[in-house]
Assembly symmetry: C2
Homo-oligomer: 208 residues x 2
């Protein structure tokens, strides 16, 4: 039954989840695939195809139950459980990630921040302390950590990834502009800002 | 000749550009598709297919000329010209974008930062002043701006997008967690951190 689902489908799922969440908040209980597709600017057929990867959730002529679909997509995305996150590198980007208001509501808990700058030691972000990187081993003994965000310069991201993997981290959210080498069973999700900017400039060049 | 190129191909091009740049910096002049594919962990056939979208750049049995391929991909990505960027919203994320060291080398120039917080007025980031949003109209009269980064809360991103479009901006780099509604001829590239985090948690849930 479990055939691999294409990355393009997975990339679209958070957007469905977001839209359905907004519909829920607006008190909408049921929505036709046509209305959903108009709001999201994707074809109704695309929505059906995407959802069919997971068994489909609509009834012909009846539309989607918003809360049910939202919750099911949440389960698909692993949002039916909480995730503990540490952030290593508390520069501007690390602070932006640490402060991001939306994560908590999705079940992502920031549990620790780490840096090498002694001036940051003991400061807190949202009540969570900034610790020094040499406290990481000790911290990991006492805490369940699911995800490590690396908001670090690229030359130190590789060694730090090795370090956190050696401490049992299986999921890295990598903001450093480097493709990390990880063994099978470890997941890396990249946020490469300059790759995104280059995609934008590609599209700009096509405008002319 | 110009058939539309799939978004997946476009998403991969910055990575090729980045790898080829690293090879250039390491003094490598020529590389076989096999070696390039091993380094990048994609198949040689994938590389060939991707590049064939743009006419192909290799010679059978001869490999790729690193600098030539790097420069050609740069042209495809619109990096053969400079782009001026303004950043609206100088919180942590805006400061991270403003400070990102890699952009300048790619020809992206930060030319102005804007916020509504009067405490930031007149401060500088990398020599570039932070101005108030009500100075934007005047600024745009005197400056060529290609790209506007919106590092704002989602409830103000929509109106600000309207504003900058009315001032002639055609490309928006949107970090706010909202899908902006823009007319044809305006480009939006999104960096949605929580969408990225949900993709990570999807993959984590598949690990179990």
């Amino acid at each position: 039954m479990e055939k691999p689902i294409s990355p393009a489908v997975i990339r679209r799922m958070p957007r469905y989840y977001r839209y359905l969440g907004e519909l829920m908040n607006a008190g909408v209980e049921r929505i036709s695939s046509k209305t959903l597709s108009e709001r999201m600017h994707v074809t109704a057929s695309q929505i059906r195809q995407d959802l069919n990867n997971f068994g489909g959730f609509g009834q012909q002529g009846y539309g989607y139950n918003v809360k049910y679909l939202h919750d099911e997509i949440g389960k698909i995305l692993g949002l039916d459980r909480e995730h503990n996150i540490i952030v290593i590198g508390v520069g501007n980007l690390g602070q932006a990630v640490a402060n991001y208001r939306n994560f908590k509501g999705l079940g992502f808990n920031m549990v620790g921040f780490f840096d090498v700058n002694p001036n940051l030691k003991g400061k807190k972000i949202g009540g969570v302390p900034i610790m020094m990187v040499d406290e990481l081993d000790e911290f990991m003994k006492d805490h369940d950590v699911d995800i490590c965000a690396l908001t670090l310069p690229k030359d130190v991201a590789g060694p730090m990834a090795e370090k956190v993997m050696s401490l049992g981290i299986k999921a890295i959210w990598n903001f450093a502009l480097v493709d990390l080498e990880v063994p099978e069973g470890v997941i890396v999700e990249n946020v490469h800002l300059s790759d995104s900017l280059m995609q934008l400039s590609y599209k700009v060049s096509k405008l002319k």
